[in-house]
Structure formats: structure tokens, C-alpha cells
Amino acid sequence: MILITIIAYAFIALLDQVQTYKDGRKKDFLFSCALGLLSFAAALWVVHGEKLPSPTRPIEQLVGWLFGM
């Protein structure tokens, strides 16, 4: 599964980042790479069987604290 994820992201990088680089948009390219790395890390994390930190509990706690629920 990890291999499939790597291949998939290589394909996405080819479609997305490479095209942005060819268009000469440096800032967009750097930002896209940063976001792509974050997304790739998240994908590996999920494929590994883990889940990303969920915002649900903190939101529930914040709402509970604010509204006394």
C-alpha cells in the first residue's frame, strides 16, 4: 500500500507541481510542494493504519467550555 501511495503521489506531482514549475510560477510551485509534502505525510500516516488528529474533540471541549454544555 505504501508503494501504491508513493506511485500515486509521484503521478500527482507530475501533473501538479511539474506543470506549475513549467509555468514559471515560483511562489505557487514552492507552496504547492509544501502542501504536497504535508499531504504525502498525511497519506503515509493513513496508509499505515493511523488516523490524523481529529478536531472533533477539541471543538466539543471548546463549545462545552463556552456554552457550559
Binding site: 511562489k27 510551485f29 502542501l35 493513513v46 490524523l52
Partner: protein, 365 residues
């Protein structure tokens, strides 16, 4: 960024499908039991001011979207904070809706398939349509809305014989408390969420009034939600409706015409997927616009793919189970979404009115 524009009809259709969203399968105002229809009517009334605020903001700043308006009204720093908040809200809402779809697929359609798989497929479709721009989304919405309406009408004709109109009685059996609870729930999900559409309705081609576009969209969307609620109530009754996760699916599953036409709940799934696809695409588009504006990128398309994938992973990680999802939707979401749907829009409107009037006075003087 080149200006992409849609027609008034396309904007209205996107809004209708946005409202229908996951409501078509999850239902709305369920806390009100047999009076859910009353809760939806009240929620529609409560949402009219929010829609009028959206229309007024878009009219005060023609050709600009929510993010441009935030920067104009609140200034650079506070405006960017506001944009960041709405980008988060758009991403979170997209993830919530995608998770609704994932739970539906896992519970009803494909229980042995990992939830991530159907979610990834829908996300890929949404990414594809957002990459092609709002014009593509608008045209897709027009086409798919017709498919939705035909499906709803056909299913109605098949479910008529199963309806027991007395299921609506007794009215106000549980009192006004659950009705208000249902109304606030329906207000926050899905009607007031339409404020997020100001992020993508920056320019409408044919110069129609935003009030007409957004108000008609709200009324038609809420009418369809009301219609589906009535259908489910008449077929299932209060007890069953309260005990199933997906009332529309359960209601249509009861259709049996001459032992020949059976198990047509796939039609409900078609409508659900269309509505969910449109809603997630609109949220993804809004998030991409916001990220591009926030970081000064040349084009929002740069961030669409990665944002869409992150939304999918977030959707996968949101809850541990369907009970948690329902608890968040019914007990927590109203309070969490209130600042995004009511407080910030009101502040934006007040700030925008003051700024525009000052500007007009300065020009006149």
C-alpha cells in the same frame, strides 16, 4: 486570477444542491420528531436574514468574493484572520459532508469496503471539477439537478401507495422545545451554511439581483428538503424515522410495486451522491480561493489537488464511529458554526455598510 463567471441560474442551482447536500440522506430537524416539517419551516425563516446579508455584501462589492470583502472591511491583518477562519470552515465542512457520504457507503452500500475508498473516488471527482473552475461546476450542477428532480419525481410516484398521511399527527405532540431544537439544528445544517457560497459567487454573468438568486435558491432548496422530510415521515412514521441513521434510504427501500419494482434505494443514493458532490466541490472551491488569497498565489488551481486530498484524510479521521458523527451534528455543530454563519456575517455587513457610505460621502464631498 482570470475572472470565471457563472449565470444566475447556475448560481441558484449550485445553492439548491448545496442545501440538499447530505440533508437528503441524513434528514434535517430530526430532533422535532413528527414536527420536523415545522422545524424546517422555522429554520428557513431564520435563514432568510443570513441569505439577505450574503446578497447585500455581494451587491456592495460587485465582482468581489467573501475573501476580498474581508480584506476591504477588516483590513489586512484582521481580514487575513477572517479568511483563515473561513478557509478552515470550508475545509472542515467539506470533510464533514464527505464523512457523511463515507458512513452511508459503509453502513448501507459497501460495508466490506474500507471507508476511505469511496471517499477518495468522490474527492477525486470534486478535485477534477474544481480544477476546471466554477463554470464547469455550474454547468454540471444544472445538468445533475435535472437528474435529481426526475429521480425524486419517479420515486415519489412509486412511494405514494406506501404513504400514511396520518403519521404527521399529532402535531406539537412533544411541545415547542424539540421543535426549536430541530429548527436551530436545521438552521445551522444546512441553511445558514449557504453563507460560505459568498466565497465563490464573486461574479454572476447576467446581472440578476443577488437577492433573487440567493433567496430563490434558499426557498427552492428548503422546499425540496421539506418535501423529502414529509415523504420520509409519511412512509416511515415517527418511531422508525427516529431509529434509522438514513431515513431516506429506509423509506425508499420499502417500495414494492407488484413484487417487481423493489429495492430502488439506489435511486436515493444517486441523488445523495450528486448533492454531496456539488456541496464538497463548492466547499473545496471556497477553500482553494481562500488559500490562494491568503498566500498571494497566482492561481487557486495550484492548491486544489492537495487541499482535496487533505480534506479526504481529515474526513477519514474526524470520528471513530457513526454515533460520534450524529452526536456532533445534532449537539455541537450549531454552536461551533454560529460564529461563521451569524456573527462574522453581521460584523462584515456592518463594517461594509459603514465603509461604503463613508466612501460615497467622501466621493460626493
Amino acid at each position: 486570477m482570470s475572472k470565471e463567471r457563472i449565470t444566475a441560474g447556475e448560481a441558484r442551482t449550485i445553492m439548491i444542491l448545496f442545501i440538499m447536500g447530505s440533508t437528503m440522506i441524513m434528514g434535517a430537524g430530526g430532533q422535532a420528531h413528527t414536527d420536523a416539517w415545522l422545524a424546517i419551516l422555522m429554520a428557513t425563516g431564520m435563514s432568510v436574514p443570513i441569505v439577505l446579508i450574503s446578497a447585500r455584501l455581494l451587491a456592495l462589492y460587485p465582482g468581489q468574493n467573501l475573501y476580498d470583502i474581508c480584506l476591504q472591511v477588516f483590513g489586512k491583518l484582521a481580514g487575513r484572520v477572517c479568511i483563515l477562519l473561513y478557509v478552515w470552515y470550508a475545509i472542515h465542512l467539506a470533510a464533514l459532508v464527505l464523512r457523511n457520504y463515507g458512513e452511508f457507503m459503509e453502513s448501507e452500500a459497501m460495508p466490506e469496503t474500507p471507508m476511505l475508498v469511496p471517499m477518495l473516488f468522490v474527492a477525486a471527482l470534486c478535485i477534477f471539477v474544481v480544477l476546471h473552475g466554477i463554470e464547469t461546476l455550474g454547468r454540471s450542477a444544472r445538468l445533475m439537478f435535472n437528474v435529481c428532480m426526475i429521480t425524486i419525481i419517479v420515486v415519489l410516484s412509486l412511494t405514494l401507495e406506501r404513504m400514511d398521511f396520518e403519521n404527521i399527527l399529532p402535531v406539537l405532540d412533544y411541545g415547542w422545545g424539540p421543535i426549536w431544537k430541530g429548527a436551530f439544528s436545521a438552521f445551522s445544517f444546512p441553511f445558514a451554511e449557504t453563507f460560505l457560497l459568498t466565497a465563490i459567487f464573486g461574479g454572476v454573468k447576467d446581472g440578476k439581483s443577488y437577492v433573487r438568486i440567493l433567496l430563490y435558491g434558499l426557498l427552492i432548496g428548503s422546499g425540496l428538503v421539506l418535501f423529502i422530510t414529509f415523504r420520509n415521515l409519511f412512509i416511515l412514521g415517527n418511531y422508525t424515522m427516529s431509529n434509522v441513521y438514513f431515513p431516506s434510504y429506509a423509506a425508499v427501500g420499502r417500495v414494492n410495486v407488484g413484487d417487481f419494482i423493489q429495492r430502488i434505494e439506489g435511486t436515493v443514493a444517486i441523488v445523495f451522491v450528486i448533492c454531496v458532490f456539488t456541496k464538497i466541490s463548492a466547499c473545496l472551491l471556497a477553500a482553494s480561493y481562500g488559500i490562494a488569497k491568503l498566500f498571494g498565489l497566482h492561481s487557486y488551481r495550484t492548491v486544489v489537488i492537495q487541499t482535496g486530498l487533505l480534506v479526504t484524510y481529515l474526513a477519514y479521521s474526524l470520528y471513530d464511529n457513526i454515533m460520534e458523527m450524529l452526536h456532533f451534528a445534532s449537539e455541537v455543530y450549531f454552536f461551533y458554526a454560529f460564529p461563521f454563519q451569524v456573527i462574522i456575517p453581521i460584523l462584515l455587513l456592518i463594517g461594509a455598510e459603514i465603509k461604503v457610505r463613508r466612501g460615497n460621502r467622501a466621493n460626493a464631498g
